[in-house]
C-alpha cells in the first residue's frame, strides 16, 4: 500500500478499528516506516478523536420531562366539563355572527316599516289640511262642519 491509500484508510476504518487483522498489520508496518503518515495519524488522534473522548455527558434537566408530560397530558385530556354547555369555538363564533346579522336585519326592517307608517300618516294629515284650506265640502263630516262654521262666522 502506498501513502495515498494509507491516508484514505487512516481517516476512517483504521481509526475506528474496522479493518481485518491482516490489513491492520499492513497499515501498522507502513506507519512504522513512514514518518509523514505517522505524523498524520498522531494529528488525527489529537485533533479529531481526542476532543470527543473526554466530552462526557450532560445531565438532562428535570424540567424537560415535566414539559413533555404536561404537553402529553394536556393534549390527551378529555374535553372540559364546560364544553357540553358551550359550543366549540368555531361554532360559537358562527352562532354569534348569525345572531348579530339577524338582529341588524330585524332592526332595519322595523325602522323602515315605522318610517313608512309615519310617511303615510303625514301624507294623510297634509291632504286633510290642504282640503281644509280649499274649503272642499266633499271631504267628510269633519271638514263639512268646519265649512259651515266658517260660513257662519265670516
Amino acid at each position: 500500500m502506498n501513502c495515498k491509500e494509507i491516508k484514505e484508510i487512516l481517516f476512517t476504518d483504521y481509526l475506528d478499528m474496522q479493518l481485518d487483522s491482516q490489513i491492520m498489520e499492513q497499515v501498522r508496518k507502513h506507519l512504522d516506516g513512514c514518518p509523514g503518515c505517522r505524523k498524520l495519524e498522531e494529528e488525527l488522534r489529537l485533533q479529531a478523536v481526542a476532543p470527543f473522548k473526554n466530552a462526557g455527558n450532560e445531565r438532562v434537566p428535570d424540567s424537560v420531562w415535566f414539559g413533555i408530560r404536561e404537553q402529553l397530558l394536556e393534549r390527551d385530556k378529555p374535553q372540559e366539563r364546560f364544553s357540553k354547555f358551550f359550543l366549540p369555538r368555531p361554532a360559537l363564533a358562527f352562532a354569534t355572527v348569525s345572531i348579530a346579522i339577524i338582529l341588524v336585519v330585524a332592526a332595519v326592517t322595523r325602522y323602515n316599516l315605522e318610517k313608512g307608517q309615519m310617511r303615510e300618516y303625514f301624507t294623510e294629515q297634509l291632504d286633510f289640511y290642504s282640503s281644509l284650506n280649499n274649503g272642499d265640502d266633499d271631504t267628510g263630516s269633519v271638514s263639512g262642519t268646519g265649512s259651515l262654521a266658517e260660513s257662519y262666522l265670516f
Partner: protein, 186 residues
Amino acid sequence: MEEITRDIIERAAGGDMDAFEVIYKAASGFVFNLALRITNSRPDAEETTQDIFIRIYDNLKRFEFRSSFKTWIYRIAVNTAINVYNRNIRNTGRRVDFDTIIETHGYSPEIKEEAEKSEEKKMLSLLLTALTPDHRAVIVLREIEGLSYGEISEALKINLNTVRSRLKRAREILLERGKKAVADEL
C-alpha cells in the same frame, strides 16, 4: 441504554404514561446529549429533546420491532435535532462559526482561558461549529455514542460508503481547524 421490553413499548403506545416514563428514563440521556452536540446550544437541546419524545410517543404504535428500538430512537433524534438546528438558523441566522470567532477575537487569551476553564467541553463545542449538522450527526454517533458503521448506516438511513465519506470529511475539517487553532496560538 437499559433494555426496554416489548411490553413497556406496547403499554406506552397505548397511552400508559408510567410506561412512557420508563422509556424516557432509559433514553433521555443519550437523546439529550445527541441533541446538544447537533444543535450546539443547551436551550435548543432542551426544546429538541421535548420534541423528540413527543414524536417518539406519537409514533410508538408504528414501531414494528423489526429494527432495534435504540436505532429507531436515534433516527428520530437525529432528524429532529437537524430540523430544529436548520429552523433556528433560518429564523435567527444565529450560527456563529469557528472562523468568525477566531477572526473576531483571534485565538485570544479570553477564548483560550474559556477553553481551558471549561476544558474540553468548550473546545468541543467550538469544533462542532465547524461541521454541518449531517457531519455532526455522524461524528457524534461514532465518537460519543460508539455506534458501528452499520448502526450509523441504519440509524441515518444512509449507506456504508456515505457513512465513511461523511466521517472522513468531518475528520478532515476537525484536523484543519485543530491545526489552525494551534497555529494561531503560537
